[in-house]
Symmetry: D2
Subunit: 313 residues, 4 copies
């Protein structure tokens, strides 16, 4: 590995990806294991999805989990990947002060940046219902500024997520909000849409004109190609919840077939063997280290010991 | 629902299942979401697997996670299922005192019982390597007795897991250990084997002769049918890690295909739609409750208020 | 101890204290140790103070700690006292849903009840500044109702804290709010004042006329006697922060004197000996239990063992 | 502050203190608040005491708290002090792997170093009872080496605590163990004694001859002066539990007097006023920041907004 890369902070790593020639694919994950799998698959960056983390914890994506519970999950991700992790900060969990406390702690657990959205706490997932109230612009800019002022590493990234289109506002308002957030210090803009086609996003992107990196999560308008997103000027594409949805489908299917058949024989060939899971989690490293560390002083212990030395020696 | 069932503790529920006419299928899960899926599929009881919880957290099944971290995960399970949860307690995390502290806290977070194994802390997963040292019988009996003496609900279950066969000892020693654990207070015996066929377990079960309920995890000898396990006198069959393995296979596949194709179009039809996940997590209940609780006092607020009442009213 | 008391839930215990002939003294505590000390001193009930818990954690009483962090502290209290614990729930940490999630989890960790106040999240400590905005009555009633509907034990107590006087509103508004909260389901009213004399509280209490139990925290109007509070119809008196303030004074003094003198000789006679701390924490119990549980199966182990039995036996 | 100091890691800061001309006074603390108080008093370094943290949590110093629970406490300390914190790692909580996991996480939460002792897990506090079994030298050296190999910052300190004298072994054995630990990578030696006079420690220190920095905790032999410790070659003096003992004495006294008198009037003048606690915790900073961040975009919001902009703007 290049020495210069070794000292790059996660934030600088993410910045580099968001300013590349092509859109960066950012994989949504929900725990340490999915972070490891996505990294092994080759994704250069990860999205710690609020929806996915909440669902994995068995709660709803309406700020039912506290931010400290979520960061405990995020910490298991950064321990399992060298890739930069962008963490979903929802609305910042209250005011400028809770937002920056989250941000400070997030940076400490090793993420590359946070993404904060301009809705009201407690928020509801953007794909559920139509009651998505937006935060006053000035108040939201305060949260952005507070997080930026509090960062330790100068590469740390604060992404402002614009929910105007989700709330049924115009592209013009979305652009105005995005620009104000940029002025308040946001390093990138996440423009969110839940339309089934790309037009709305395309309209925004063209008018935005590259004032700052643009990130999207094409959960509903997934038919558009990565190349097309690139041509529109999108810098990062977040696959926000597909790992979770693949998990749910697979676990549902496994449970159903096991219960009905009274056994696992029918699915055994389809599921990952334990030995591959042990390889993924590097059990062989632990076994090697046991040999290395189990008795480091053995050769030293061979030296004559004082008469009083007892059983433990 | 039968009124008498409503007041049954999780422990009594598990006892009832382990003394039924047929073997009870117990599904291994690793977080709140998988607990909810397994319950929805119809499993009557769940196994909070140490291997699976550890892997989901991104650590190895060698006591890398602390017991308080594991119980935080278990708490997300009991909040997501009415089914009794049996929690993997590994070796009890130290001595009789840490074992009972774990057990007390486990009961408080709502599990039906714990399962403690007779290896040395920190232990290694039973399917990894050959260095599986067994605890002295007297010391292990002390852990069982301490947990039993500390339980609050009289239905709470302490299962003793015998690792003698994993450690390469004889069936005779396994039987002797099992009986001593039963005498020390264990409510059931988990006899573990990693052979690819059922003979070893069958031999044990026949000689055991129903002295206490028997539980197994046929991860390697899965070809045997549930009916055959029933004929052998097995009371509970734990499918210990198949949900996790189904998850890993699915998430790996999804990651690989998304990254390669630069999009999710190819997998969209195979993964669970978001709306099904929202249904699984009962988002509609939250929306209904918002209407119910958002402004309870509205009719009261219509009463005349004192002159000093300000903006908030 | 009376047998009938032994099966009383914490909530019923607190209800009984709040309906006694004389005002109940409720001691504010901040962690497991202070809960144990206050219990040993004889206090019949404890107040898990948000200010004190926050300060002990090194954060400010402005919702800087998350509710899950606070409940982890509260859990160390209930593990250290048989006395009912009333826990400060601030404003409920968001909306009706976060409030009831807090309440459900609080009940699970063993508290007798919660106390929720009618300010806006994130709130500021009532003794700091003058910017204390009140919640709309209807919204706050919704939080109360949601917590009441979610309780498991029928004795669980929800106290509504009226901050109208803190916010500079009239006694009339405070009375009106209190009554609406009572109608919404509150089991008791905490009427808060930061005046240096009792008049405001006395005015409120007389007009309230015992419609529901009344609780106060006379931090500033401490000169009034307990008897006088009783005559006014007060049912519970919370000494909200004096343990913390005694702690700060003592630790400051100790630190200063140790650093200056370069030693502890000067303070040794004034501080609690270690052996008293070991007695307070019942170390002798642990030592006795070590003898009891360390080798339970020793007598069993004396039985002949199978030929294959190895080192562990 | 000197610019060069600003970029010094906590570990380098502690190293500097342990190699100064005079013994460094290290204050034992138990949570974020006590860390803040000790820092304000002027202590240059802090000791995150296992006994004190455990007691504050309401558990016994016999590994009743898990290491993840303890590090959550330690994190509140490092957030409240710029002084280097040395954290008590007990025996490393299992084997080389748990020890290094603790060490890695401890470094991540910002401590200067860890101190690991050569007893058997679960250990008992060194001042309680006589059953203090020592770890085999080779195994303990493996823990030290594993922690050293895992550190990220090259200044991070691993202190090896020698319990030979506590276990009744000779000074010769203590010296031999200390030297082996030093060879295995320990950066300093904590030699522990519970004699009431300094002779044993003095004997050790003279023979040790400065092979590596020496740290002590003169809980029982406190009559010796700091100057004398300096002459003996001691580099760091830990006042391990006096803050906790001062706290217990003060809280006990406050509780007793309040309950008896039915009020706080008698102690009000002796305890720290709330306003001093607010000053200690920098509430004025939060109020100033509220003005700064509450509405950052206000001036921006004055710009004309698109026609579709609604209530939120």
């Amino acid at each position: 590995m290049d020495e210069s890369l070794a000292v790059t902070s996660p934030g600088h790593g993410l910045r580099s990806l968001l300013t590349g020639a092509e859109p960066c694919q950012i994989m949504g994950v929900y725990n340490g294991l999915s972070a490891r799998i996505a990294t092994a698959a080759g994704f250069p960056a990860l999205w710690a999805s609020g929806l996915c983390m909440s669902t994995a914890l068995g709660v709803r994506d309406s700020d039912e989990a506290t931010w400290s519970e979520l960061l405990a999950v995020v910490e298991t991700m950064t321990a399992n990947t060298p890739a930069p992790v962008l963490v979903d900060a929802d609305t910042g969990y209250g005011n400028f002060n809770t937002a920056r406390r989250f941000s400070i702690k997030a940076e400490r657990v090793g993420v590359a940046g946070i993404c904060i959205e301009d809705k009201i706490f407690p928020k509801m997932n953007s794909f559920v219902g139509d009651d998505h109230r937006l935060a006053p612009v000035g108040e939201f800019c305060g949260k952005i500024a507070a997080c930026k002022d509090a960062q330790n590493d100068d590469g740390f990234v604060v992404v402002a997520r614009v929910e105007a289109l989700i709330a049924g506002r115009s592209v013009a308002e979305a652009l105005d909000r995005a620009d104000r957030y940029r002025e308040a210090g946001a390093d990138a803009i996440f423009i969110h849409s839940r339309q089934s086609t790309v037009e709305q996003i395309a309209d925004f992107a063209r008018q935005w004109g590259g004032r700052a990196p643009l990130v999207i999560a094409p959960t509903t308008y997934y038919a558009t190609s990565l190349e097309e997103f690139g041509r529109l000027g999108i810098n990062g594409v977040i696959w926000a919840n597909q790992t979770l949805r693949a998990e749910v489908a697979a676990v549902r299917d496994a449970c159903s077939r096991i219960l009905q058949s009274g056994g696992v024989a029918a699915i055994e060939a389809e599921i990952t063997p334990l030995k591959e899971i042990f390889a993924l989690m590097r059990y062989e490293e632990l076994e090697a280290e046991e040999l290395r560390y189990a008795d480091v002083g053995a050769h030293l212990a061979a030296r004559p010991v004082p008469a009083s030395a007892g059983d433990a020696l």
